[in-house]
Symmetry: D2
Subunit: 287 residues, 4 copies
């Protein structure tokens, strides 16, 4: 999808709504000879915030310079917060995982087969179970054990590793530890988590067991930006599947795996394509 | 679906699992010349409970007598709890509703067009908004106002009306009051409620507002047997619909209506067809 | 949703894509002091067509005059085809139905309870089965029998009735006759049909029987703009439901009814809100 | 799920319906001291065929002997066709694939992580694109080119390889060639194919292009038993996903991949667990 000769510019902006904002943005691009390929916007009436995602071909102009010029325009003249990248850019991803392997394999295979506009560059785990698997894929694997007593050092080590690999997005691919607020601040890059329930139902531990006990007829999975509060960050994507009284906890777990893989991969791709944007405790997703 | 010359017998049984139970039940019917049309069973391994739904044609024999004989067999010899009815039986339903009319209309239209194997015989409301609508359908309408100070008398009046109409199932079609445990005991017939969220998420008041605030990507509706604890009874059916950042609370409410109607009608039909059975805080649904 | 003091202007435009189109349109509104509430656009890269839906508050200006001025601007200066209306406008709908009543009731109830931004003004049927039902709702009912030999006269009569009622949208709510190309031309207003299958699978007669015979695991319903070719017009909306070997044809039919009602109502509402636009054999739907 | 000390017996039977069949089967097991863990049956009223799946613990008795004894009982005394296996049995699978890799990877990873009760033992392809991938997983890879002129020899070679590996199920994991009726007869084991559309819509080549052209609002994937007639065999499982005018063919293809993987894996697992049974052109699936 991203395979074009000349890179396009992608910009994701948001800020206080103001009269004429669409006109000003489209005019800036038009008058500099750019060709808008995709544009999508949203206006949150309640909070008076304007959101826009743009993808354009700068035609003759140098894409990097033009991108930088647009950033300045949007920040200074429009007072918007803006994220930009070229459509050819591939962000580096770090994956944290514990023992459950399906999201880990799924993300890596998607990376290998060209489904993700980014590159997984390292795997960190609090267990050694997936070491040889990671190495089979040619990925550096770091074992960072986490215990109640070493949490701070472990997090410091994780941050050090992720920064050393220049990671721009951290994916918790069924990583069974909560990252502290301090670690999230230190990292200073987005973290996407997959939770194996239809949040806000069944947050916390063993959600399929909770779901089975409650007798729900539908189970789900939720990908969200991680915040310091467990399972409470902005939701990016959710999917569900029907279950019945016939399904044991083990079958909920098995059925749920397919949801988790799809939902997590979708959220990661949306983020990498600059389609997902968190604000307050929600997201806008320009699908 | 239930239109056959000779009524069939429908039985729904459950109790402690025991060796040979399927053999004993099927043998009883077979040896008395009955012809099993549908049979479905479930075994909850964790709690060691056996569930079965049977629908059979007693061929030459008198259906009512045979049904009673089976009940005695199942209760005495198998020590099962059992509900039986003839397939031609039409239970009487009482509908409680407040002001929001979509589930009310939907249930009544389904009744009129032959979609429900039962008959709505009265409508009770704590408001008068739907009086003329009920009367247009030819249904008795009772206005029973409920306030903090008259709750006990109001509930007593509702029980009296429902009993006077010989109601066998009460449907809360967006009735915005919680029935007390005492009233549920007095009624002594099942009560099905529709809650406008994907329970256990967003129980209580204004669930679409809660869902909008949390930024979920999927909304839902849940039909459950009412218990004294708000929105916590055994779930019969749930449905969901996808939403996005573009949807306002009003649009969630509108989208949700279609879920609520379908889910409630499905639960009511399953109950009337003896397909749904509550045990503990769950249901078995033989769909 | 449409309840605001001052009417907004809604415009739906499409035409050959051209540089600066978004900028020109948003500039026209901005410079005349209008406040864009919603704007959504799409660009079909393959056919080079640009589509846009706009909803704006003309603030101090007279909405009707401003709407007309915009229409001229869009048609003359931008060479776009454009549909406009005020957000307070309620189109008149004519419903054609045969005997199957669920979509008929559903649409009317939605009309009565304020779910549709339009008014059903007449019901035409080739049967008399729903006459008393229509009259109970206070709607004029016309019985226009259709046979192989009187088709032309029958269609002429239908056109006459629909025009006499100033109908702006015709809804085929399970109307079991194909409208001829000549009648569609004569009518000169859009016609929305509900087909009870997941098109293009199972077009034509008795689709649930076809689906049952083929052993599909999912059934569906499709709302589309009617064209002279049976079940081949531009698809507006589709929904599906899971089925299994346990479901008889009768149960597919019953399950399908809920799909048909929801899908048809959704398509009608999208059309009335100027969200759906047919081009070639497809639609753009600005949901 | 299949991890138990003592193997259970699984039997899948079908044949002409007869009075007392459930009683006879359950009696046979009960009287020999077996403990039924799961039992599910279905009766196709139209064709008068009875279907049953049983899973039981033969308690003290030798499972293999008991399984054989049951087979004889079901075939001779009940005149049923019957498939039996022990719950610990792992069938050997052969995978045929062309170039598109997602189903190939997905099946293998599911095999590696214990999600499939069977073992992939060989990969055959008409291309070499996945050779090194297969070898990385430690799987024998056979390149069998297929052209218009060598089709018969190629099929003979495929049959020889699959038989040499004692394959009990062949999976066409996006294998872009139709197997001839002769080859299917020669193979004499079931073949499961994944088709990338919601059959019967868009059978044949390039279904996502067909779907895009038709402007459908939902796409799908279908797993079915392969027959000599292209895309016309008994459907085991189908899944769908919503799309809109915004999605290009490439995006339909990408979205479809997740459907194809899930649907194919589900069908393969159902087959391996003796839950899926083809009869006529349909399947019964005891989920």
């Amino acid at each position: 999808m991203m395979a074009q000769a000349q890179p396009r510019i992608v910009a994701l902006l948001h800020g206080e709504d103001q009269p004429g904002i669409v006109w000003k943005v489209s005019g800036w691009i038009y008058q500099r000879g750019g060709n808008i390929i995709h544009a999508d916007q949203h206006r949150d009436g309640a909070s008076n915030i304007f959101f826009q995602r743009l993808e354009w071909d700068p035609l003759g102009r140098d894409p990097l310079e033009e991108m930088e010029r647009f950033r300045v325009f949007a920040e200074v003249e429009l007072e918007m917060r803006v994220r930009t990248c070229l459509s050819t850019y591939r962000a580096k991803l770090g994956v944290l995982v514990s023992k459950v392997p399906h999201c880990f394999h799924d993300l890596i295979i998607r990376g290998l087969t060209g489904e993700l506009p980014g590159d997984i560059v390292c795997v960190i785990s609090n267990h050694t179970a997936l070491r040889s698997e990671a190495q089979r894929y040619g990925l550096p694997f770091y074992h960072v054990p986490v215990t109640d007593s070493n949490r701070d050092q472990a997090e410091a080590e994780q941050v050090r590793l992720l920064k050393a690999h220049d990671v721009k997005l951290v994916v918790l691919a069924r990583y069974m530890q909560v990252l502290s607020g301090g670690m999230l601040d230190e990292l200073d890059v987005p973290v996407i988590n997959i939770h194996h329930s239809f949040l806000p139902a069944f947050s916390g531990a063993r959600p399929y067991h909770q779901a089975h006990r409650r007798g729900v007829k539908i189970i789900g999975a939720t990908a969200h930006y991680a915040t310091a509060e467990l399972d409470a960050g902005p939701i990016i994507q959710q999917e569900v599947a029907r279950v019945s009284h016939r399904h044991s906890v083990e079958e909920l777990i098995r059925k749920g795996r397919d949801l988790e893989k799809t939902v997590l991969a979708q959220a990661v791709r949306w983020h990498l394509e600059h389609r997902a944007l968190a604000y307050g405790n929600k997201t806008v997703v320009f699908d």
